[in-house]
């Protein structure tokens, strides 16, 4: 597996100007890499602990997966906002739900530059 720069969720929030929708208590977690997919079973099968997950899915099941896989945070792309129960679950689980107005391609490119 690739070794990435050690960055915390809070670092990338600042660097990329991300919105924090919920799960503020988890922003000190370290990011071990990233995963990009809108297919939940793909994330369930292939994402690794500590990764940050970029997606356009905004429902509560995203948090179930993030929590079971011990992901560090979620980034919702293109200005998407979490459903109310997703945001609540982020708070309960302490998994930051973040947002950007940029497309997946743009935000992931920047994220990769920061982490690589």
């Amino acid at each position: 597996m690739l070794k990435y720069n050690r960055m915390k969720v809070s670092d990338i929030i600042n660097e990329l100007g991300l919105t924090v929708f919920s799960g503020q208590s988890g922003i000190d977690k370290e990011i071990t890499g990233g995963y990009v997919s809108d297919l939940l079973s793909d994330v369930m099968g292939h994402a690794k602990e500590g990764q940050i997950w970029c997606t356009l899915q905004t429902h509560k099941n995203v948090m179930a997966i993030a929590s079971l896989k011990d992901l560090s945070a979620i980034i919702l792309v293109k200005g998407f906002k979490p459903d109310e129960d997703m945001a609540e679950q982020g708070e309960v689980e302490g998994v930051p739900v973040l947002g950007t107005t940029e497309t997946t391609f743009e935000i992931v490119g920047k994220l990769y530059e920061l982490l690589k």
Binding site: L39, L40, S41, M44, N61, A64, I65, K69
Partner: protein, 139 residues
């Protein structure tokens, strides 16, 4: 240790409840992190399958010193062709389910890949039964 959970078909808001409970229990009992992860992934996928395809289901978990056995029995349409259903990419999920990012046809293979022993039997018009086993070295 024995646990049972009910699953309601169609209710995605509760999908993952049993797996998140199991994760909490296993974290207390098992030091092998990998087994915990694999097992909760397998159970989560099985829960989602019940929610997406069946009317109701029950999860029965037995944790022993040498293994974790999980049975997921549902009442539902059943699976006509199990070997087809096991193929990665094959899915009969509805459009609504697919829009949520489920129904990619990876669920059953994720279950198989994340268990040591996996059995599936199904009767069309009646339901489907899954048995997932994870073997433990020591507990």
């Amino acid at each position: 240790m024995h646990f049972e959970y009910n699953i309601e078909g169609g209710d995605f808001s509760k999908a993952g409840f049993a797996s998140s409970q199991l994760k909490k229990v296993l974290k207390q009992l098992i030091t092998d992190h990998k087994v915990v992860k694999r097992t909760v992934v397998a159970l989560y996928e099985a829960e989602v399958n019940v929610v997406a395809h069946a009317y109701l289901g029950v999860v029965i978990i037995d944790i022993d010193t040498d293994k974790i056995k999980i049975q997921i029995n549902d009442k539902g349409p059943g699976i006509e062709d199990i070997s087809k259903a096991m193929e990665e990419g094959f899915s009969t999920a509805s459009e609504k389910v697919r829009e949520m990012g489920f129904g990619a046809g990876m669920g059953l293979s994720n279950i198989k890949n994340n268990s040591d022993d996996f059995k599936i039997t199904s009767e069309v018009g009646v339901g489907t039964k899954l048995e997932i086993i994870a073997y433990l070295k020591t507990i």
